[in-house]
Every structure is written in structure tokens, then in C-alpha cells.
Symmetry: C2
Subunit: 226 residues, 2 copies
DNA sequence: CACTGTCTTGTTGGATCCAATATTAGCGCA
DNA sequence: TGCGCTAATATTGGATCCAACAAGACAGTG
């Protein structure tokens, strides 16, 4: 399901573990990643850690300087905006492709996924991220272009995502917007209106990107103070 | 200019060297990449080779199976088509962004770049690939979204490119089409017509992808015979 | 008191060693 | 003769060792 059963188990698992700890905020943005420490924590030798870091570096999540080691990349707001412009374009394509391919069941699944994001709904902590992801993942599946899904996934992995979840959780207003935008997308898909579906999705992603960029702006303003 | 002065010199150089040899066809599609052999050829130890292979694997150019080593990925035609659909969308966005940003000088540069691709022109072997690349690179620069350029670059590195050059060189007809498509894009850019520029670029990339996919189809038909 | 040069220390990078595993050749048996 | 099992071999994966390098501490000097 991932992709293909390629590569070693260990280094991929190691990479996934490190990525998860960065995404979840366990390892904060800007933190140094010491190979020996990671190796000890994860119970493996330095070798797989090194290769895992190399993978993450290629993905753009961390930065490596020659003899000083790896740090979690601190994204600049303009970088976030640029990235989300790209993602918006691709997700727009996803919607366009989804229109002629979606079934009644597919629509139901989407409605159900979004229902979990309804502002009033009670939900355990962190589940909104999962639900949000599943909404997009569902459409990616319907669109039926694996490469497209993969590129979007890679783009998403370029930034720590927990902040995205924080944005949604912190601000009830954003939650409402998010839910409504999903609704509009579903409506357009149901109406077989490819053009609208694309536009709504683009706006949705741009909006999410803007929130994320603002979050990083506030963050850097706070952090670089002291 | 690359990106940032990140990472080690050696492993990046190694990765670049291996990638270059794959792209140029020196190492053919489907070939096995033995670490020891690469290490000896490149005059380094196995360690940087391993990390370089890891990078290439993340990029999708090679495939690694646990205890059997790495092979140059053999792209399926449908994969090529999917990928080029994504790339077409992104290059379309590039053109759309380029329209409000392009200057008279920028247009001149593009015309000059395409002039090198004029069907009648005499040119040294392999220069058409370079000229073709520079045409796209120029527009990427004008569009002014680094992430966008980077994603497209990564997508391009997913397949051996030499075949793309072969497609163009083998078939005079395709060369003419290629040149004419570039011309139409330039015209639309000069006319400040974002919509047309996008559409023309999309069509251009899709067409190139179709040629490449066909090439792979013919190739697999030939190879899997014996 | 400030500045500079050196030394110490910690961390990464590269090489090599050993273990794990997949492939293949060879052998025996039906 | 063909099939299956076993053993040899080749290749990758993981661990460890040593060298290279960068950052910081400290002392000495202007």
C-alpha cells in the first residue's frame, strides 16, 4: 500500500520513526539531530540512522551541514506559501480527475470523512489530523493517479505537520472554514462540476497554506526574540 | 544556485555521478548496481555509495530490494503518462505565473533558447537536450517559485532522460513539433495571455510524455522478447 | 579588559569487519 | 532425465573503528 515493498525494513522504519517524532513535535523545529543519540533511542546502530537521515534530507525535512550534523529545517513563510501554491495546483488536478471517476459510494465515504470534522463533533485529541488526511487520501484514490498522490505526499512531508493540526485545533473559526470548504468540494464533485471542484479545492489548500504560513510567522517572531 | 550548500560533498558527488551515468545511458535501464563495483569505479568506499543509492532510491530513480541490491527502475508506460500529466500541470502553472512577471529581456532569452532547437540548425550531438532544458529552466526562473521549480526537477529525475533526447533526435517530425510548441508558448507569453500559455505548455508536456511513453512501450516489447 | 591563538572535546564522515540472506550450482534420488 | 534438497558463493546490511573537522574553552598578550 505504501508504494512498493522496496528497501530495507530497518532504515525505512528508522526514517519513519524519526519523521514521526519530528511531525508530532516530539523533536521540535530547529532541533539538532545527533546520530549517536538517535541510534541509542531507537535501539539501532548509527549506520541505519545515517541512511535514514539521508532519506529525510532528500525529502527536505531536515538540513545537513558537512561536519555539524542535521537539524530540523525551519521553514520560511514564503517557502510555505510557495509550497502550498504548488500543492493547491496538484490537489486541484486531483479534483478535476476525480469528477468523472467518482461513484456514489465514493461520495458517501467523503461525506463520512468530513462528518468527523464537523465543528461541533466531539473527538479525541489528534483525530482531526487523521480525519483531515483521510479526506484527502480518499480523493487521491478516486483520482487514480498514483504519481500525483505520491508527489503530494512528498510535498506534505516537507514540513512538520503537527503545526497544521495545531492551527486547526487552536482556532474554531478555522475548523468551521475547513469543514465548509470540504462541503463545497463534495458538492461540486456530486454535481459533476470539474471546474468548480478544482477551484474550490485550490482555494481550500491555499487557505490552509496561508494559515500555516501565518503560524510560522508568529512562531519566528516569538522565538527570535530572546 | 543548486539549493543550499547542504550535505557532504562526497556522497552528493557520488549520487550525482551515479545519476549522471544512469541518465546518460551509460548504465542501462534495468541494470543492477553493485555497491562494490560502483565504489571501485568511483574511487570511494562503499559507505558513500550506500548513502548515495539511498538518495537515488528516495528520488525514485532506482529500486532497492532488501538483500538483492539496487536496480535502475524500469518505468511502465502508464507510470510515464501519469508522471507527465503531473508535470504538465505544474509546467502550466509555471507559465501562468510567468505571464505577469516576464520582461522583454526574458522573452528574448526564451526566443534565443528556442532558436538553438530550430529543426534546420546544425548542432553538436547532445546539445538539443541542453537547449531543451535551458528553455524550461528559463521559464522556471521567471515564474519565481523555487519550490515549483524544485518539484519539477525532482519529477524529471525520476526517469532516465537520455531516452527523451533520443526521442527528439531520432524523429525529425518530433523536433519540428517541439520547436513549434515552444514558439506558441512564447507567443502566448508575449501576448500576456496566461490562459493560452498554460494550455500550450500543458499540451507540450503531455505530448513529450506521450512520446516518451511510446518509446518505453517499444522498448519493453523488444526487450522482453528473448 | 579585550582580543587572538591554541588546545580540547564532541560529532560527523569514511573504511573495514562480520553477520544475514538470496541465488545458484551441484548432487542425490525417484 | 527431471525434480528437490543442500551447500557454496556472492552481495547486501549492520556494527565498529579511526580520521577529519568544527565549536567552544582557556590562557596568554597587547
Amino acid at each position: 500500500m505504501d508504494d512498493a515493498p522496496r528497501s530495507d525494513a530497518l532504515v525505512d522504519a528508522t526514517a519513519a520513526a524519526i519523521r514521526a517524532r519530528i511531525m508530532s513535535g516530539d523533536i521540535p523545529i530547529g532541533a539538532q539531530l545527533r546520530q549517536a543519540e538517535l541510534a541509542k533511542t531507537l535501539g539501532v546502530s548509527r549506520t541505519p540512522v545515517r541512511e535514514a537521515l539521508r532519506q529525510l534530507q532528500t525529502g527536505g525535512l531536515i538540513e545537513v551541514v558537512p561536519h555539524r550534523g542535521a537539524v530540523v529545517r525551519v521553514p520560511a513563510p514564503w517557502d510555505v506559501r510557495e509550497t502550498y501554491e504548488v500543492r493547491a495546483e496538484l490537489e486541484g488536478l486531483v479534483c478535476e480527475r476525480a469528477v468523472p471517476r467518482i461513484t456514489r459510494d465514493g461520495l458517501d465515504d467523503l461525506r463520512k470523512a468530513n462528518e468527523a470534522l464537523r465543528p461541533g463533533a466531539i473527538r479525541p485529541d489528534g483525530s482531526s489530523t487523521v480525519a483531515n488526511d483521510s479526506f484527502h487520501t480518499l480523493i487521491h484514490g478516486i483520482a487514480g493517479n498514483e504519481r500525483l498522490a505520491r508527489v503530494i505526499k512528498e510535498i506534505n512531508e516537507a514540513f512538520p505537520r503537527n503545526v497544521s493540526a495545531l492551527v486547526l485545533q487552536d482556532n474554531p473559526r478555522h475548523r468551521e472554514d475547513n469543514f465548509a470548504e470540504h462541503e463545497r468540494i463534495i458538492t461540486a464533485l456530486a454535481a459533476d462540476d470539474a471546474e468548480t471542484a478544482r477551484r474550490e479545492m485550490q482555494a481550500h489548500v491555499i487557505s490552509a497554506g496561508e494559515q500555516l504560513a501565518r503560524w510560522y510567522e508568529r512562531r519566528s517572531a516569538t522565538v527570535f526574540r530572546g
